[in-house]
């Protein structure tokens, strides 16, 4: 019985090898079409993940990559799904590794010929695990300047996921921007302990509004609805969220993953991929983030505020102004 099992195992292994070799050969022939897979921990609607998805969709059309993805992959399944794609001969595997940092890194080690590029709060790992992150503190700072000018009660707030570095630096930049233009402003922060729980985010926002917040930064999904219900102003996050409530959303802190995806696809295609930090490609100067257009607020915002923001935007693009990166835990005032 035991011998039988062994021979069976060997046969399966042999078959697997043949498949791997065959796909490897196929890949060499069709080197033009880069095969890209993405593994997302949350459903695709979650704004953070959606920005990556949208950029990869665009790459499918404009760069001719072949793209497939899996959503809602929990930490327990993360390694399996990553391995399936790696075994399936994908050249580039992207995703968000925040919930499965160690798992993603361990899996990547087993497939040195595959490029792994993951959203991560920590650094890249040789030879093939590169990282990116939403370095959108610059537009968050600009949005803060607008909030600081718009607030009538000198109280602004942010409802965010949890006190992790990538969230902290957005909240802190938002508050710092407001304080630069209005020294009397007080910042309030709430954390809902989840990346995607809109009812809870809405309830947290309502609590802040009860406490006098009149401009609120919707770091998480669900906040804008509360702002619209109570008739205060809101700043969107991740994508241009104007259409959720046109009268309420003054601007949004937009993260555009296109420069990152384009760069990643280019280096992988050129065969010069290394385990690097692609974070810079989310900066404003690279077009990886920007404040959304004002839309309905174009006429309602005072000229003075608009020119102030435009000036600071130019300084950031020119590199003459650096938005401070503060990743300490923000505290309510």
């Amino acid at each position: 019985m035991k011998i039988n099992m062994n021979s069976l195992c060997r046969r399966i292994l042999a078959a697997a090898f043949t498949v791997v070799l065959a796909t490897g050969a196929g890949r060499a022939l069709a080197a033009e079409n880069l095969r890209v897979a993405a593994v997302f921990e949350t459903p695709i609607e979650e704004p953070w993940v959606n920005q990556i998805h949208v950029a990869l969709k665009k790459a499918e059309e404009e760069l001719g990559i072949e793209y497939t993805w899996s959503e809602s992959v929990k930490a327990a399944d993360f390694a399996r799904v990553m391995r399936e794609y790696a075994e399936g001969g994908y050249d580039l595997i992207m995703g968000d590794a925040f919930g499965a940092e160690r798992i993603a890194r361990r899996v990547a080690k087993s497939y040195p010929d595959t490029a792994f590029v993951f959203g991560s709060g920590i650094g890249p790992a040789d030879p093939n695990f590169a990282v990116f992150d939403n370095w959108i503190h610059e537009p968050a700072y600009l949005a803060g300047m607008i909030a600081g000018k718009l607030t009538e009660k000198n109280t602004i707030g942010a409802v965010a996921a949890m006190t992790i570095p990538e969230v902290n630096r957005l909240c802190n930049a938002f508050c710092a921007g407001a304080k630069e233009v209005n020294a009397d402003v007080k910042c309030k922060f709430s954390f809902i302990g989840s990346f995607f729980d809109p009812p809870k985010a809405k309830e947290a926002a309502l609590a802040q509004i009860d406490q006098g917040v009149d401009v609120i930064y919707a770091e998480r999904f669900g906040v804008i609805e509360a702002a619209a219900e109570r008739g205060i102003r809101a700043i969107g996050n991740m994508s241009d969220q104007r259409e959720l409530a046109p009268e309420t959303v003054v601007t949004s802190v937009v993260w555009d993953m296109w420069p990152t995806v384009k760069q990643v696809v280019n280096v992988v295609q050129a065969g010069v991929f290394t385990a690097q930090d692609f974070g810079q490609f989310s900066y404003m100067s690279k077009g990886g983030s920007f404040p959304a257009p004002y839309h309905e607020w174009e006429d309602k915002l005072p000229e003075e505020v608009k020119s102030m923001v435009a000036e600071r935007t130019q300084e950031i693009l020119d590199g003459t102004f650096r938005v401070p990166i503060d990743e300490s835990t923000p505290k309510s005032e």
Partner: protein, 314 residues
């Protein structure tokens, strides 16, 4: 301390308390009915999620939010019936069947949503229920805006409490239900159909779970998203124990949880106490557990809870 009290004695705090408590109350009452008949319905979390999805989809396409609520209730009844088939007719393990239904319903909600709405980059939304201030009553100072300025489902949920108590304690139907929950043989020999009673209780619980779920996607929020229930169903299982299987105490339990949840959000953003945010978030759970240890120490679960009924078996 006075600063904390200042946070509490605000109209906003009390309205938030009622808003947070409402879906929990609906689901807790549902779970109470099924457990009173001796069936632990762990399908609660999944049925709530599916109710939120079906309710939203029906409301979105028909344009009538109330039709969405009805659709959610009907879905709940169907899966309550399925739970009955598994645990009553087939006499399977209530734990396993309930968890199975939760997994099935969560999967169905996910799959159904993708089938109907595809993968939108921004979830489609409806114009959610708006609050309906009751004329005259809502003008009473302080109390008026707290009690009489809510969406209709909030009024319905709280009116359900005396209704459930009446049904349970003052009608033959309720007496029979409680008998089934305490002693299966006695109920059967008194001519009560144990199976049918349990089916009824499970379908009532399913309907209330469905409505509670739809409250999230049609009233509390205006869209269905996958994180919309996030374990709130499991909370209700604990609230039933804290409520000692009694409608009035269940209402108290839901209000207590709602109050602490509303308070922790206000404490977080007030900056009065400097603690890691996780401590604030776990406060409602902590208070529930402590309250359960103190108030429900002598609570006795219905005697036939988890016991399957097989005719002529002792």
């Amino acid at each position: 301390m006075s600063e904390i009290l200042e946070q509490i004695f605000q109209i906003g705090f009390f309205t938030a308390m009622l808003r947070v408590a409402t879906p929990l109350l609906l689901a807790t009452l549902g779970e109470m009915f099924s457990e009173r008949a001796g069936v632990l319905n762990l399908g609660i979390e999944g049925i709530m999620l599916l109710g939120a999805m079906v309710g939203f989809a029906a409301g979105y396409f028909s344009g009538s939010l109330w039709l969405g609520i009805v659709a959610a209730a009907v879905t709940g009844i169907a899966f309550g019936g399925l739970m009955g088939l598994l645990t009553v007719s087939l006499g399977l393990s209530q734990h396993v069947s309930g968890l199975g239904i939760t997994l099935l319903c969560s999967g169905l909600a996910f799959f159904g949503y993708r089938l109907i709405f595809g993968q939108p980059s921004q979830p489609p939304h409806v114009d959610a229920f708006e609050s309906v201030p009751l004329p005259w009553f809502s003008d009473i100072p302080f109390i008026g805006p707290i009690l009489f300025d809510h969406v209709t489902l909030v009024y319905i949920a709280f009116l359900l409490v005396p209704f459930a108590a009446f049904l349970l304690y003052r009608t033959p139907w309720g007496l029979n239900l409680r008998t089934v929950g305490e002693n299966l043989q006695a109920a059967a020999s008194a001519g009560v159909s144990v199976a049918w009673k349990r089916y009824q209780a499970l379908m009532i619980s399913g309907a209330l779970f469905g409505i509670a779920g739809a409250y999230f996607s049609l009233a509390q929020f205006n869209a269905f998203t996958f994180g919309v229930i996030s374990g709130r169903g499991w909370v209700c299982i604990a609230l039933v124990v804290l409520g000692r299987w009694d409608p009035w105490r269940c209402a108290f339990a839901a209000l207590l949880f709602g109050a602490v949840d509303a308070l922790q959000l206000r404490l977080q953003s007030s900056g009065i106490i400097d603690l890691p945010f996780q401590v604030f978030l776990l406060l409602p759970f902590l208070v529930t557990v402590v309250a359960m240890a103190v108030l429900a120490r002598n609570a006795r679960a219905p005697a036939s809870l988890l016991v399957p009924y097989r005719k002529e078996e002792r």
